[in-house]
């Protein structure tokens, strides 16, 4: 399961993710992180059954946590199965099936957003939290 963690860095430079790993013992896979001087945002991947404990600990440490269900959403009505998205995505989220229909394996998505602009038909959107 993917969580989007946003934290302010004003309360010192606590290594929040490391702290949560230490406190909970859950191994956190950091998929993507953007951190500047006063704010940080990290996309992390954790086992589904440990989501709650990680989420709680993060919240205790002052972070905002959003669960991302389907990272990238395909609008079947708009999609024409061209495949322009395939080579744009570094995570190989997109592929063709045997009938040349596009298949989305959104579990691998890291929400970089490249495919959203590259799709000529506006068929891809990034999901909001659930």
């Amino acid at each position: 399961m993917k969580l989007l963690v946003t934290f302010s860095r004003r309360e010192g430079r606590r290594p929040i993710i490391a702290q949560v790993v230490k406190d909970t013992g859950v191994l956190i896979n950091v998929v993507r992180a953007v951190i500047d001087s006063h704010e940080g945002e990290a996309l992390i991947d954790i086992p589904d059954d440990q989501c709650e404990i990680v989420r709680k600990r993060m919240a205790d440490l002052g972070a905002t946590v959003r669960i991302l269900e389907h990272a990238i959403i395909l609008d079947e009505e708009e999609c024409v199965d061209c495949g322009a998205c395939i080579s744009i995505c570094s995570q190989e989220v997109f592929s063709f099936d045997a009938a040349w229909k596009i298949v989305v394996n959104s579990v691998r998505c890291v929400l970089c957003g490249h495919c959203v602009t590259a799709c000529p038909h506006g068929a891809l959107t990034q999901s909001e939290e659930t």
């Binding site: 024409v80 395939i86 080579s87 040349w100 602009t117 000529p120 506006g122």
Partner: protein, 522 residues
């Protein structure tokens, strides 16, 4: 139509008359009418020919249907809106704020797919208007006019839909490229092109076209496809008008001009699209049926993806002579990876192979239902045209578009003092010098004049101090080339001259500012 039965007989028993194997289209029509026709999609032909041999395939297959579904920028539609009361001679026309060309009669217009909305920019264009109309929506029609005695009205605002207007005829100057070069980017930044998003350092390859299903790839000799031949356009049965623009059969890049009734089209085969950072375009389904009348048709429709080769072109180099990194067949491209400079690079199609199949399938069904009036071309399409290199669709700005048309100049016999006054008055640094006939003979700069003031030894007149060797440009010259002149000679202004050396403008570094702030360079 009454046909000599002997002909039909002959095709029940193939190989009777090898000398005269031609199967007239009338015979094919008869088979269709009788329900005996065999119509297949182009991707099936290679296996059929391998199985039955060429003669066997000729006897067996009556029509091969082709199909492609991809970005076809050179598309649009003619409209006739009908007359309002009081009537207006529409001079400028907008449909949902997308301008249509109104310079044809009073209530006719042509809307191009790539025209952008004046209010929504790149997110909505002519292609979107076409899709909205085909989808049954109403669009806002706005028109203005000077007003004439017979057409007194000056403005008009109303809603129109395909049901309410007289005609909506799609007429596309260039569709259905025989094949299209694949694109890659060796540069170090992401670029956005009509070939889609190209990642830096050869991060991906994009390509277009349906290969084995492409109409013109199945008839490269242009024996079956030509004027008057039916086609499937946007889901409706339309017609081939003739060669498309940029038709280059000698290089294997034939194109078609197509027409069809927009009112009969469907969104399934007509979709607006946005090439990020480039513009709007129209995705269209196009298919052409190829009657299998002779062995030549059998051979040409037996083409496979493996047989169709394109160049993989570097779009990272922004010139017309884009280098080719390698060649690749549609089979290579469709495999999903291509080896470039020793590395595996993933490929993306911009056109939909799945929908191309749907086009060919639908065309097959329509042919079998007798809905498609098969016929031979009224004439053969040009076979030898097009030695010119393929023109890119991006617009290279010309000097005329940004030059300063306000000219401040002096005569060669003017006094230096008056030249100085001109420079001050015009707030400029360069003064072109003209002879009595108005032809450019020299140039003086603020620097030349200051020097003359400090050291007046050379003489009192402009011609005593002017530079006679003037670097010039012309109105038609691409700005990029003019810029290179400025850089090469380390100067900051270029007089713009016509063929007679008459000055028609000035290009200065300041004018270039318009360009960098404008739409050409981002």
């Amino acid at each position: 139509m009454i046909l000599p039965t002997v002909i039909s007989e002959r095709y029940k028993y193939p190989l009777i008359d090898i000398e005269n194997m031609d199967k007239p289209i009338d015979v094919i029509h008869e088979r269709i009418r009788d329900g005996n026709a065999r119509v297949v999609t182009a991707d099936q032909m290679p296996a059929i020919v391998a199985d039955l041999g060429e003669e066997g395939a000729l006897a067996e297959v009556d029509v091969v249907t082709t199909g492609t579904f991809g970005a076809m920028c050179s598309s649009g539609a003619f409209f006739n809106f009908g007359h309002s009361d009081p009537p207006i001679r529409m001079e400028r026309i907008w449909l949902n704020d997308v301008e249509a060309y109104g310079g044809i009669a009073a209530v006719d217009a042509y809307l191009g797919a790539t025209e952008q909305s004046t209010t929504r920019g790149i997110t909505y264009g002519g292609a979107h208007v076409l899709e909205d109309l085909v989808g049954g929506k109403s669009v806002d029609l706005r028109a203005i006019s000077k007003g004439t005695d017979c057409y007194p009205r000056r403005t008009l605002t109303t809603e129109v839909s395909l049901e309410t207007i007289n005609e909506a005829v799609m007429c596309n100057p260039r569709n259905a490229y025989q094949r299209y070069n694949a694109a890659v980017n060796t540069g170090d930044r992401v670029i956005h092109t009509y070939m889609g998003t190209l990642l830096p350092n050869c991060g991906n390859v994009t390509y277009s076209g349906a290969g084995v299903l492409n109409p013109l790839s199945n008839d490269p000799e242009l024996l079956a496809i030509g004027p008057g031949v039916p086609c499937l356009l946007g889901g409706a049965v339309g017609m081939v008008v003739g060669e498309g623009t940029q038709h280059s059969p000698s290089r294997g890049f034939s194109t078609l001009m197509l027409t069809g009734n927009l009112k009969e089209m469907s969104q399934e085969y007509l979709r607006a699209a946005i090439m990020h950072g480039y513009g709007t375009t129209l995705y269209l389904g196009v298919g052409v049926p190829i009657p299998v009348t002779n062995l030549a048709a059998v051979r040409s429709t037996a083409v496979r993806d493996e047989d169709i080769t394109v160049d993989v072109v570097d779009y990272g180099i922004p010139s017309r002579g884009r280098p080719t990194l390698r060649t690749a067949t549609y089979a290579d491209l469709r495999s999903g990876v291509l080896t470039l400079k020793g590395e595996e690079v993933r490929t993306s199609s911009l056109s939909s192979f799945r929908r191309a199949h749907q086009v060919a399938d639908r065309l097959r069904d329509l042919v079998l239902q007798g809905e498609v009036p098969l016929r031979a071309p009224a004439r053969r399409l040009a076979l030898t045209r097009g030695a010119k290199p393929l023109q890119e669709t991006t617009h290279a700005p010309r000097v005329r578009e940004i030059m300063d048309r306000k000219i401040v100049a002096v005569r060669e016999d003017d006094e230096i003092k008056s030249a100085a006054a001109q420079l001050l008055k015009g707030e400029i640094n360069h003064l072109p010098v003209l002879d009595p006939e108005g032809k450019l003979v020299g140039i003086v700069t603020t620097y030349d004049i200051s020097k003359a003031v400090v050291n007046p030894a050379k003489g009192p007149l402009v011609r005593h101090i002017m530079k006679q060797r003037v670097i010039t440009t012309t109105a038609d010259e691409p700005v990029d080339i003019a810029v290179r002149k400025l850089e090469r000679y380390n100067i900051s202004a270029l007089p713009v001259i016509d063929n007679d050396r008459h000055i028609i403008g000035m290009l200065t570094a300041m004018d270039l500012g318009k360009l960098f702030g404008g739409r050409w360079l981002k």
